[in-house]
Amino acid sequence: MATFREFLAATKARITEIDPAEAETRLGTATFLDVRELDEYEQGMIPGAVFVPRGHLEGQIENKIPDRAAPVVVYCAGGTRSAFAADTLTQLGYTDVVSMAGGFGRWKNEGRDWITPVVLNPEQRTRYHRHVLLPEVGEAGQQRLLESKVLLLGAGGLGSPAALYLAAAGVGTLGIVDMDVVDASNLQRQVLHNVDRVGDRKVDSAKKTLTLLNPDVNVVTYDVRFGADNVLDIISGYDVVVDGTDNFPTRYLLNDASVLTRVPVVHGSIFRFEGQVTVFDPFRGPCYRCMLPEPPPPELAPSCAEAGVLGVLPGIVGSIQALETIKLLLDLGDPLRGRLLAYDALEQSFRTFKVRRDPACPTCSDDAAPIVIAEYDEHCLPHAVLADGTTTGH
């Protein structure tokens, strides 16, 4: 029967070891695999390393490093566990695995680069467990959501479900722009609010609801009219804007600001029993004006306030907006960039249509004039800079 020393020596004879100096040259090309325990990992790690405690190695490695031909540098604290782990990986069919001699301790002592990972605390690990289980999200994806900032335009029909789901998902900062107060007629669909809040500012009601749902979320409120004077200040610094506004001039204004600041917009709109969702990701896909060069005249486009809307409909459309937002934040799947999703609640059907970048778009084409941020009137025509330096629009 082999002693520990004999066993380790035999293992090391089967694998390849490199020292930290050589390992450092492989940063950026090889995948660094940290096989220590969580409490060690939390104290410091090699930047970019993939973390799989050795006890979970066989079970989790295929999810974390699917390519068995990928170069892998395994490390632990001192170089022993990583030697065993490298041996195991070789047995699992990984063909380019080395163990870092001396481990993280020697790496750190030699003054090489390391960072303290931002990790979920125990409460967060429980709260977001269903996310962490998804290999496409995982702890790193959840951390990314916690560091993300999403702006919701409107805390109404679409903004309510979108905000609730984004808060539940742990998006760390939610900005909410709305200047209305809660009205009893809102409660048929605006599920952020309730009877006790009638008469309160919507942003305050939203903040109360969202903070009760998830105290991790920092809710930033803007009790203002979203206009040309503040649009750039408000949207700058956000990763994604969820558009749940209710009029064309605001949507065109947002589009200009989005293209100018390159903040993507997840667009949603509803009418009676129908909804539309798409993603406007500046220069990576069409913009709002590519899809809709001009708005309809008011007599052909009654608002929900005039024409009514089924209460559940914004719940569905706003939830899809939340989903698309998370996809953008985590770079998951195929967002609705360049595609318009049309939902018909009566027919219970979803259809998608192609939305193309308009090569002549006055806002986002190569030849477009510089973007002017100014209020739109009901015609929403593109602003132009006049000879005297002033602009059209008012």
């Binding site: 709305d178 749940g244 709109s269 009418f271 809709l292 708005p295 929900c304 009566l346 249509f353 192609k354």
Partner: protein
């Protein structure tokens, strides 16, 4: 050519509440002319005084925007779906 035209809520009132109608024509423009002959109320929502499709209405042959095909001259085949999607702005209210 026999095609199915999918109508948005906004236009259904003009077509006795139908969510889709069958129509004939060799191009999208011809299909719309036939549609307007049957349901005159739709005219204002689709075609402008210049005879062109309004810029605030998007029309798709199957899933392609006809603005990037041949506009109203876009040919249609038997069984095509022509979808009319008007701009809607509602959301907050």
């Amino acid at each position: 050519m026999a095609v199915t035209v999918l109508l948005p809520t906004l236009l259904r009132a003009h077509a006795d509440g139908a969510s889709s109608v069958e129509a004939e024509g060799a191009t999208v423009g011809e299909v719309f002319q036939g549609l307007i002959a049957r349901y005159p109320g739709m005219a204002a929502n689709l075609i402008g005084e210049d005879g062109e499709l309004h810029r605030f209405v998007n029309v798709y042959r199957n899933d392609d925007d006809i603005r990037y095909l041949e506009r109203l001259g876009t040919p249609v085949s038997d069984g095509d779906e022509i979808a009319i999607l008007p701009a809607v702005a509602g959301g907050a209210g």
